[in-house]
């Protein structure tokens, strides 16, 4: 029974990782922009929820009404005014990747610095839906369950959009080969900007949902960027269901690893797993190639 509870909680934790990784998967997998400042939008979403609770005593989920559009627009602007210039002058994909990483690495410090100056560096948190729910005798916190369900729903929605709609087909074509996509009449830059902005909006959503059950600080963004990266590369770049599966696997490895060794070592376990995947199957665990 105890093991069942550990596994259930691991799955819920994994759902959170999948949720965090979905947005970056759109940005890196579809728009092909490795955004190291991704976690800062997660952090901004978390702080949006925090201030909504603290200042106006409102439901933290209401913060998404503001934070999601803001994050969407901010990411669209980043794409339009920073990354697009890099795309225009890059000789090849490798050089572009390097430039994008450098720019977003810089943005990471800009956003983090702004957050620390405005909101301070200490850890914050609030209580929301922190009630236990019984599932087959095991207890799970309702707020964690909510994030888990949101991850499943969002992954399914993205999967359907990418798989069944016309825009989704264009996005997939772009992810596979941007040059060829352009040749068949897809407005690659417009759609990439859209995917990139949507990824940023997802970062804000995940930040809001995850903030209901973790404590966070202004410098937490990097950690979540890293976790999202691990999930994406494990699941296969650009694959939404692979992302969900890899997130769950990561949650499982982290919970069981932390349970068997020491909870303080969870990030090290994450990273070891990531390293193994990188070295053994750089294309991801669930890719066909």
């Amino acid at each position: 029974m105890f093991l069942f509870e550990v596994i259930l909680n691991a799955l819920v934790l994994g759902g959170m990782y999948a949720l965090v990784a979905l947005g970056l998967n759109l940005q890196y997998g579809v728009a092909r922009m490795m955004n190291l400042s991704y976690g800062e939008f997660f952090m901004a979403g978390a702080f949006g929820a925090f201030w909504t609770v603290m200042l106006w005593k409102l439901d933290p989920l209401l913060a998404m009404i503001a934070s999601v559009p803001v994050s969407f627009v901010a990411n669209w602007l980043i794409y339009r005014f920073l990354l697009l210039r890099l795309i225009r002058r890059a000789p090849d994909q490798d050089a572009l990747d390097a430039d994008v990483i450098l720019v977003t690495f810089g943005l990471l410090f800009v956003f983090q610095g702004l957050a620390i100056v405005n909101w301070g560096g200490e850890y914050r948190g609030y209580s929301y839906l922190a009630v236990p729910v019984k599932i087959l005798g095991a207890e799970v916190a309702l707020n964690r369950l909510l994030a888990f369900l949101a991850a499943c729903v969002l992954a399914a929605v993205l999967f359907v959009i990418l798989g069944l709609t016309r825009t989704g087909a264009a996005l997939r074509a772009m992810a596979i080969d941007p040059v060829a996509a352009r040749l068949v009449g897809i407005d690659v830059l417009k759609l990439s900007a859209l995917a990139f902005a949507a990824g940023g909006a997802l970062a804000a959503i995940s930040g809001t949902l995850v903030s209901t059950f973790i404590s966070f600080s202004a410098s937490i963004g990097v950690v979540y960027t890293l976790k999202a990266l691990i999930v994406i590369i494990m699941g296969g770049v650009g694959r939404m269901m692979g992302c969900l599966a890899a997130g769950l696997l990561l949650g499982l490895a982290e919970s069981l690893g932390g349970y068997l060794t020491d909870p303080g070592l969870t990030l090290a376990i994450n990273f070891a797993l990531f390293l193994i995947v990188l070295l053994v199957r750089p294309t991801g665990l669930f890719s066909r190639g």
């Binding site: 490795m34 190291l36 920073l82 490798d94 990747d97 390097a98 430039d99 990483i101 450098l102 720019v103 690495f105 810089g106 943005l107 410090f109 800009v110 983090q112 610095g113 702004l114 620390i116 100056v117 560096g121 410098s219 990097v222 950690v223 890293l226 990266l229 691990i230 590369i233 020491d262 303080g264 070592l265 990030l267 090290a268 990273f271 990531f274 390293l275 990188l278 070295l279 750089p282």
Partner: protein, 311 residues
């Protein structure tokens, strides 16, 4: 080649080194501290750029090596002579980079960057875990009895040796092999370059310079903790300086030079942890135009010429 730096460049740069070496007698303590930081940045940016600039394997693990150096010297300082402690710091950086280099050989481009990005975080977490659970104290006091002038001289030596070393090494077969890897690794391998050996060796050597520099700098601190030692701002600052300086031999050094003075502005008014974050914030915009030949390389023809004769 005949026109190269040898005729005009060497005596002048020797003169510059001599002037810098006797400078501490004449300037204020504040300026010595400032120059100490400049030398540290020059050494790190030059070392970073010698590997990452030439091969285009962008490493974000600078802070990991700085932290390793800091911890190596702090742990050994009351057990062995300082010189040995510094040597241990360099050796620790070398060994860790060797292991990392050997295990990440298969990673190209983005994956290498991500890996080094995560590595710094991983080592920080491991050290934090060790300090909290085994040492029972996150902080360590630094018991170093050294003067500013001593640090100045050591770091001047490190910086001069790094710049001269990377300049000289750039003219050898090794430097040529590095640039060949940067141009096209497959072609380099087919023309007989042992790419594995070159990459790992140079990565480890430059990491040991970075670790050594971090170790010397840490003698100034009164205490360290994992967040200070493994501060990711190091990775960022070193990268900015190299980008500003561009891909020439003296470029990174010039970048290290130029990056220092503006940093004084936020330094005076805010608390140390904030200062570390706020500095890059002020300069973040410079990253927005990364160019292979940095702005300083073009603004400073002397540095550019040395670079070209070397190439």
């Amino acid at each position: 080649m005949s026109r190269g730096g040898r005729a005009g460049g060497w005596p002048r740069s020797r003169l510059a080194v001599v002037v810098l070496a006797i400078l501490p007698r004449f300037v204020s303590d504040y300026r010595i501290s400032l120059l100490i930081s400049i030398f540290a940045y020059v050494a790190m940016a030059t070392a970073w750029s010698f590997f990452s600039g030439a091969t285009r394997y962008i490493s974000l693990a600078t802070s990991a090596f700085v932290g390793i150096g800091v911890y190596a010297v702090t742990l050994s300082i009351d057990r062995v002579p300082l010189a040995l402690g510094l040597a241990l710091a360099a050796l620790a950086g070398f060994l860790v980079a060797l292991v990392v280099g050997l295990s990440t050989l298969r990673l190209r481009g983005v994956y290498f960057v991500i890996f080094t990005f995560g590595l710094a975080e991983l080592i920080k977490q491991l050290v934090t875990w060790y300090e909290v659970n085994r040492n029972k104290n996150l902080m360590r006091l630094v018991f170093a009895d050294v003067s500013n002038v001593f640090l100045y001289e050591v770091l001047l030596a490190v910086a001069v040796l790094t710049v001269a070393g990377s300049w000289l090494a750039g003219r050898t077969r090794l430097g040529f092999a590095l640039r060949a890897i940067g141009e096209d690794e497959t072609v380099a391998r087919h023309t007989g370059v042992n790419t594995t050996l070159v990459k790992v060796l140079v990565f480890a050597l430059t990491a040991s310079v970075i670790a050594l520099t971090g170790a010397v700098l840490s003698l100034r601190y009164s205490y360290i903790d994992p967040n200070i030692a493994f501060n990711s701002a190091w990775s960022f600052q070193v990268l900015i300086m190299s980008l500003l300086g561009g891909g020439t031999r003296l470029g990174p050094a010039a970048g290290g030079d130029s990056a220092r003075p503006p940093l004084r502005v936020p330094g005076g008014h805010v608390s140390p942890p904030l200062r570390h974050r706020a500095r890059p914030l002020l300069r973040g915009h410079r990253l927005l135009s990364p160019r292979r030949r940095g702005p300083l390389a073009r603004a400073c023809p002397r540095a550019g010429r040395v670079g070209r004769t070397a190439a």
